[in-house]
């Protein structure tokens, strides 16, 4: 078993004191930049990549891995504490995480995110190391129609998982779908609903929308409430560490999240978001505390965070075995690898084993370093929440604006941030859930493109959608998920269901 020897050798190199120091520097830098709201891991890695150029191959790989993991974790931290997700994959983390933080349970939320990320990263990296070549063969079977079926499944489970009023949930979802139509149609290159505004040609930026809906909308909502209740500011209630019950409720979601996130991340068009959505929907179905969902359920942080990290390791599967970057972060990593003369592709594991295993070992070490660095920092982070509310929300508005401008320096983008912030406020005011609109914006274009690609390849024959066994099974599951609750409702069990669904926002 050559692979195992290579891994041990890589670990031995990566565990040298100097290398550990590089890993520490990388993780610290990555967390520091990633923690800025609106700045996701992709931008973090792009900004910090030149820092690694000065080192030798082993040193820069490990610092790079540190930056990568640090950037990802930094993004989750701000999602939980400030409700400002820096990338679409941490939107779900913000949902429950921020509710927990506001109830004084920011410590356990950050801890379950950190430990869940670590465990997911560990398992997924090992899966990557030993299964990558065989996983990629399975992933390639997924063509447009299979992806479309997967999107349909995600739609059905996700929209069922949000909110107790189906009408309001669907209204929000369809608003998102409508907004998703804005911009250049990818398949024909024609502009839709852009009204001649050049900034709208690429569609509405998901992170701008998410930050606006979650952070700006929330800030407006708080400001709109006349009677500011001072007693709400309970920054730390109970221990900042995870209790025995927290552990018991977290470990299964960590594992489930990992095994949902990794394979979907490994698919060339899977992406990280769908894994987090499905994990959230799953946890909500399986939890023993459905009443807490929407009010800060720890499972809702543990599962999606694990799925997010596992899918990040999953994206390395097509990157290393096919040379195929499937996310912005992966594209920048590809650029990073090339400086060491490493050309990802089907022959990589055979031609360049030392570097590949060095990278995998670096990922493992950086992952562990992240945990070591961040667990003690949690106490410090939650102090942020003791900042008085007006100050805190002023700060959130400032950072949301800075993050948007930093990622996309345009006054139009800023206008959109404000406009969607107002929309978020109005939706909160009238009790419409926020998450489905963002989910619609993310999943809408994916589903549409895959459907049209499938139909284009089959030259307009709709039966193609069910001719592939995988697509047929996925669509079947989606149909069941849709019909079974309808039947239950018709037989008078609707009460139970709406209780199960809970209140999301």
């Amino acid at each position: 078993m050559g692979a195992f020897d290579f891994l041990l050798q890589g670990l031995a190199t990566a565990a040298e004191p100097m290398m550990l120091l590089y890993a520490l520097i990388g993780v610290t830098l990555g967390t520091a930049v990633g923690v800025l709201p609106g700045i996701g891991p992709a931008l973090t890695v792009a900004l910090l990549l030149p820092v690694t150029y000065r080192l030798d191959a082993a040193g820069s790989l490990i610092m790079f891995a540190g930056i990568y993991y640090g950037g990802m974790y930094g993004g989750s931290t701000t999602s939980i504490l400030l409700n400002t997700p820096g990338e679409s994959a941490s939107i779900i983390t913000a949902l429950e995480g921020n509710k927990m933080a506001r109830k004084g349970r920011g410590g356990p939320a950050l801890a379950t995110a950190a430990i869940g990320s670590f465990i997911a990263g560990l398992i997924a990296t090992l899966l990557l190391a030993f299964l990558a070549p065989s996983i990629v063969k399975v992933a390639l079977v997924f063509g447009p129609r299979e992806y479309f079926a997967l999107m349909v499944l995600a739609f059905v489970t996700v929209s069922a998982a949000f909110g107790d009023s189906a009408l309001r949930g669907l209204t929000s979802l369809f608003l998102g779908l409508a907004l998703a139509c804005v911009g250049i149609d990818q398949l024909t290159g024609q502009a839709r609903l852009s009204f001649g505004v050049p900034e709208l040609l690429d569609g509405i930026e998901v992170t701008t929308m998410a930050v606006a809906m979650f952070a700006v909308g929330e800030a407006l909502f708080i400001a709109g409430q006349r009677n500011v209740q001072a007693d709400e500011v309970t920054a730390v209630k109970g221990s900042i560490w995870m209790s025995r019950a927290d552990w018991a409720r977290s470990w299964k979601p960590w594992l489930r999240g990992t095994f949902l996130g990794f394979p979907i991340g490994a698919m060339p068009a899977g992406g990280a978001e769908i894994g987090t959505f499905l994990s959230y929907a799953t946890e909500k179905k399986l939890t023993k505390h459905p009443e807490e969902f929407g009010e800060g359920a720890i499972e809702g942080v543990a599962g999606p965070e694990a799925a997010n990290n596992a899918s990040a390791a999953g994206t390395l599967v097509p990157l290393l075995t096919l040379g195929l970057p499937t996310s912005a972060t992966a594209a920048i990593m590809l650029a990073g690898f090339q400086q060491f003369g490493l050309q990802p592709g089907p022959l990589l594991f055979a031609t360049n084993p030392t570097l590949v295993w060095g990278l995998i070992a670096s990922l493992l070490i950086a992952n562990a370093m992240l945990l070591v660095l961040n667990l003690p920092m949690i106490g410090l982070w939650v102090k942020l929440l003791t900042v008085p509310k007006p100050w805190l929300y002023a700060g959130i508005l400032l950072f949301a604006t800075l993050g948007t401008i930093g990622a996309n320096p345009s006054s139009f983008e800023l206008g959109m941030l404000l406009a969607f912030g107002v929309l978020g406020y109005v939706m909160r005011l009238f009790g419409y859930p926020i998450a489905p609109i963002v989910v619609g914006l993310i999943l809408g274009p994916m589903a549409e493109q895959q459907l049209r690609r499938a139909l284009s390849i089959s030259q307009g024959d709709w039966t193609t959608l069910v001719q592939s066994p995988i697509a047929a099974v996925l669509l079947g599951i989606a149909a069941l998920a849709l019909i079974v609750p309808l039947i239950l409702r018709a037989r008078g069990k609707g009460q139970v269901l709406s209780q199960l669904a809970g209140d999301e926002d």
Binding site: P198, D202, Q338, S456
Partner: protein, 313 residues
């Protein structure tokens, strides 16, 4: 002669005191080709002392036209501002009806470029370009082509191939993906008939034998690549997906000469050459009047083919 010496001294004196402090706009998100080009320029300019504090700024959107519009309007006469762009921009300006075009900036030089490759999955019954053209002639709709975004280089290549083969370009069945990489998965998975993208995207797969390379879009055979050019295969198509650097509008001749000299110094440095070979980019450096002429030619032919495909009215 005396005048020449004086003139160069004068130019030198102008250039000497102000060390350039370039800000390079990458009109795309981090990770893409333009972003990587801009960041590579940044590194080399810093290390070669051409511009010790060169910066990169990303202004993404709409095939680079948003970055281009912002660049042209905000930097008039600013000799320290540079923007990276490329062939994709030529198409995007046309399809998006962009109010700002490459005429509104000062193109300096073409830096690097990649040629297009036409591939089929290894399991495909199609063996060569002739077989593919025959299938295309028999039923254009039945041949699905996977490539990058609609109206981009890959799509234009397919349009040009169809036109050269005497097939109506509006009939082609082009399946657009967000990039050559995502298209690669569809080709490897046997979802489509053929694939078109930069050679670099397919290189590793061709070497591993999972893709069959039918032809490349270069004017002559590429060293180390075992495939005919499209011209050899009887199709009069030549296409390079190039990347360039441009300066701000409204520069004086001295300013333009200074920027051109700085870029040339960068391109000629060993550092730049090493970066190119590390990244597998070809050195297709072209500047001055030659580049202007090439640009003009590309704009005209691209406009024609986009009209043929039906993307530009």
């Amino acid at each position: 002669m005396k005048q020449f010496v004086l003139a160069s001294l004068f130019a030198g004196a102008l250039a000497m005191p102000a060390m350039a402090d370039y800000t390079i706009i990458a009109p795309a998100n981090p990770g893409g080709g333009w972003d990587q080009t801009a960041r590579t320029m940044q590194t080399v300019m810093q290390e070669e002392g051409i511009s010790p504090s060169a910066q990169v700024q990303n202004v993404p959107g709409a095939g680079g036209t948003i970055g281009l519009a912002q660049f042209a309007s905000q930097n008039k006469g600013n000799a320290d501002a540079l923007i990276v762009g490329g062939y994709v921009m030529v198409g995007a300006i046309l399809t998006n009806n962009s109010p700002v075009s490459l005429k509104d900036v000062t193109p300096i030089a073409r830096l690097t470029g990649e040629y297009e490759a036409i591939v089929v999955p290894a399991a495909s019954p199609i063996q060569d370009m002739k077989g593919l053209v025959e299938a295309l002639k028999a039923d254009p709709g039945a041949v699905s082509w996977a490539g990058g975004s609609a109206g981009g280089t890959d799509h234009i290549a397919v349009g040009l191939i169809a036109k050269a083969a005497g097939v109506d370009p509006t009939k082609i069945n082009y399946i657009a993906y967000s990039g050559g990489g995502e298209a690669l998965a569809a080709i490897l998975g046997n979802q489509v008939t053929a694939g078109v993208s930069s050679l670099g995207e397919f290189d590793a797969q061709i070497k591993a034998g999972t893709l069959r390379l039918l032809a490349v879009s270069s004017p002559e055979r590429i060293e180390g690549v075992d495939a005919p050019t499209l011209k050899e295969a009887g199709l009069d198509v030549e296409l390079q997906n190039w990347r360039m650097v441009a300066a701000a509008p409204g520069l004086s001749d001295e300013q333009k000469a200074k920027v051109t000299a700085d870029v040339e110094k960068m391109v000629k440095s060993e550092n730049w050459q090493k970066q190119l070979s590390d990244k597998g980019w070809a050195d297709t450096y072209l500047s001055g009047a030659d580049f202007d002429a090439q640009l003009e030619k590309d704009v005209t032919s691209t406009e024609a083919v986009l009209k043929d495909i039906g993307l530009v009215k």
